[in-house]
Symmetry: C4
Subunit: 273 residues, 4 copies
Amino acid sequence: MPETLSQVIDDLVLANRILGHESVLDAFGHVSARHPDDPGRYLLARSRSPLLVEPDDILEYTLDSEPVRTPKVNLYAERVIHGCIYQARSDVMAVCHHHAASVMPFCVAGKPIVPVFHFGATMGSQHTVFWDQHDEFGDTNLLVVKEDEGRSLARALGQHWVVLMRRHGCTVAGTGLQDVVARSIYLCQNAEYQLRASILGAPAALHPGEVKPAGEMNLQPRVVARAWEYWTRRLEAAGGWPLRGGGAKAARSAASNPAPARGKSISKGKKRR
Amino acid sequence: MPETLSQVIDDLVLANRILGHESVLDAFGHVSARHPDDPGRYLLARSRSPLLVEPDDILEYTLDSEPVRTPKVNLYAERVIHGCIYQARSDVMAVCHHHAASVMPFCVAGKPIVPVFHFGATMGSQHTVFWDQHDEFGDTNLLVVKEDEGRSLARALGQHWVVLMRRHGCTVAGTGLQDVVARSIYLCQNAEYQLRASILGAPAALHPGEVKPAGEMNLQPRVVARAWEYWTRRLEAAGGWPLRGGGAKAARSAASNPAPARGKSISKGKKRR
Amino acid sequence: MPETLSQVIDDLVLANRILGHESVLDAFGHVSARHPDDPGRYLLARSRSPLLVEPDDILEYTLDSEPVRTPKVNLYAERVIHGCIYQARSDVMAVCHHHAASVMPFCVAGKPIVPVFHFGATMGSQHTVFWDQHDEFGDTNLLVVKEDEGRSLARALGQHWVVLMRRHGCTVAGTGLQDVVARSIYLCQNAEYQLRASILGAPAALHPGEVKPAGEMNLQPRVVARAWEYWTRRLEAAGGWPLRGGGAKAARSAASNPAPARGKSISKGKKRR
Amino acid sequence: MPETLSQVIDDLVLANRILGHESVLDAFGHVSARHPDDPGRYLLARSRSPLLVEPDDILEYTLDSEPVRTPKVNLYAERVIHGCIYQARSDVMAVCHHHAASVMPFCVAGKPIVPVFHFGATMGSQHTVFWDQHDEFGDTNLLVVKEDEGRSLARALGQHWVVLMRRHGCTVAGTGLQDVVARSIYLCQNAEYQLRASILGAPAALHPGEVKPAGEMNLQPRVVARAWEYWTRRLEAAGGWPLRGGGAKAARSAASNPAPARGKSISKGKKRR
């Protein structure tokens, strides 16, 4: 089932808002998708908090993280995280970089997250790997802004799906937007349970042979679709969905046909959520 | 006071949504009720997040967890949890399987929950029992999907009302829907207080002789009714109740009388919560 | 400034809802006020969750906790908590009994709450006192329902304003409704900070000489009024205030003048919050 | 870009409400701005909970914390915190004093907050400094109300941007309103992650050479503006913004032109949020 660009943009806007509403992303952090027609490009919002992202905010980038069209807006500084992972991993179709409150204690303490329940197995390994920007680059402002930094992070990710970044946050890769949203949310749940279990004593990880089957089961499209409906409904109840002005198709159509009345109505819809 | 099928379906939908809103269930987990007219059957939603369940989603199962009518929808994979407990325990009229955040640290750390306040005594014993799927079945994806697995879990539950499942979650049985909802919510509160008390030092459990009277008092229908009104009001304030299209009776009536105007109005009501 | 009965009932309803919304009370727990005209009586809701209490729910009791008028509704089982404290303490004008989540870990672990910040000093002493029903009454269901139990609890409270009840909850006394609400909410905040500070190391209590001036300052009517406006606004934002059908005066007037139109409008207002 | 008084008042009202909604301020605590035209004056609300502050609540003070116009309303008792810091630090343009739940455990335990992630570096130093009112002033009610107390606190702050107050709370200074709001919110996040990381083991602070670049990067106006849009949107979704009666300019204009119809509409707007 080939996806059109409009569909992916709509899904990317929804993924931004779901991750914002479910407290994976806050004022900062970002999520991207590989371009459905051109594996050498990816889609990412302009510099804006994910909960507020709209179809017109989505920009197209080459894999060296240069915007395809000269932008009139601010860009995320850390977009090389996305570009370098898409370069290194042809199986990755979506990337989320975040500083979720449940994951941060592990990034701060330098302790790996291990899968402690079946949904946690969607992290895809026995424990998370770490990347410390200071090891290779010394004193920085901790933002991943240079190609070298992005490539170093992508090397640390390797064939995994999650990499924790010391004193910074976390990056999650996925085989698609629903996949990366699910992995990101379940990782947060797992981290929360692991932290709280450690108050009671040593938390027990899944048996090594449980991780693969449990992770694969819970990333089946049918299973993720059930959660996706739930996350969308929660976002709706909070007034964050659907978009007042319609999705990507409506926005593009309005943009290419700037009749005053229509354009006005859409812009009004966007301002009031 | 005999309950009609319509009443039980309506209560089951409300129980789904209350447990979803009170954070016992999230995208996953499920709650069932034994059929009011046929103890050899039970009622359970199609595969859907509990907060979103509607009367039309409720399906009828035999106790070996086969749907009575060939379904056109996806089913919960773990329905044997329900069927096997109904088989083993004729006194159980409702079952809830969940992965509540407050209970998970105990499932991960392998430490029993003990009743630490009077409402916690509704768990019905001095401490929770454990079931570890790995003990008998080795490496699995941790889902309870085979009759053998369900029967093993039911054996671990025994004559208790709560069983913790290592690295997975929890299953609670009850004498009815209000009973199982109350037990599930109070268990979460108890677990939260026990975890936090353990930061201060060794939490003290109820005296053995306090558990039975305290548990029985707090499960009296009059007491549970007070809490039920509260949980319903909270759900209402969040926009999750009442159903726009009416309850089970209205839905069935509309289904058997598919006049365009009426059917349309009900379906519209269901889509917007 | 003498208070009329109508005013106290309205304040009591608001106190119920504020304490419910601020998570001091949940499905259970209750708050009362001494009768403004008769110190030998007190006012307390019928058995109902505090967030839902309306003026018509408020009943009048003698200090031995018997209803003045034969009620047609269920009563709180633990009303002797209120009656026995009003008997023992002529300076107490309001009482709140609760099982707040932030206080429960201390009731479970048997560790006293100590004032760790200036608002915490409103507990009025260097540390909270404890009462354990089991000491004097052995195995019970932990509810305080007999006069003897109530009197024992009042003795444990003594000249203090807060008493923690082992494996049960907490009772707070005050010089008025706004006073008891403020003390209850600040105690919860103090307990939360003390618990979390204990993760970092031994929390430091206020110096003995700081407790009295800090407690008195923060219970001045002018200071409490500022918080009261805030708690009311938060309740309003959640849709819990004002009452749709008006306050106590409107309700009584409608009750004594049951003209169909008016009565209907009020009852409709009450059902929808 | 010179700011007018009206703009600063509007920003100050919004800062009050954002800090209230983001749980930095609650019923208590306050935020001020230096007067845009007169560095010898500052702007601060009358004694009111920050979430409820409106343009007409903003008063003008001299740096010795005396109101410029004789007020008919209650004033914050602790305004010398603001006046004394503006006196001591000409580079400070805004001050926030709070008792945020995430910071309080550190004030209670007497443990410094250290920057544990890049946004935490906005505290501007390797660790927070402490001030203990008892050291110099002995037993008080812990409120900072005398010039001497305010000056002592300002000395403890020194050239830093954050000072923790033992058994009391925290004061944050900034180069402007958006700056002080950002520093306050990020400090709370940092404190939360540090506390929770300490459950897992010793939390690691940023390398000394990372603090300055990370702090400066994240306080760039362009970066703060992205967060400001997010915090404003969240406040809007909760019904706390925009003001019903318009901002400072509208309020002043209505005040100087008390036409019944207009004045009425604005006052109505203010009462209902």
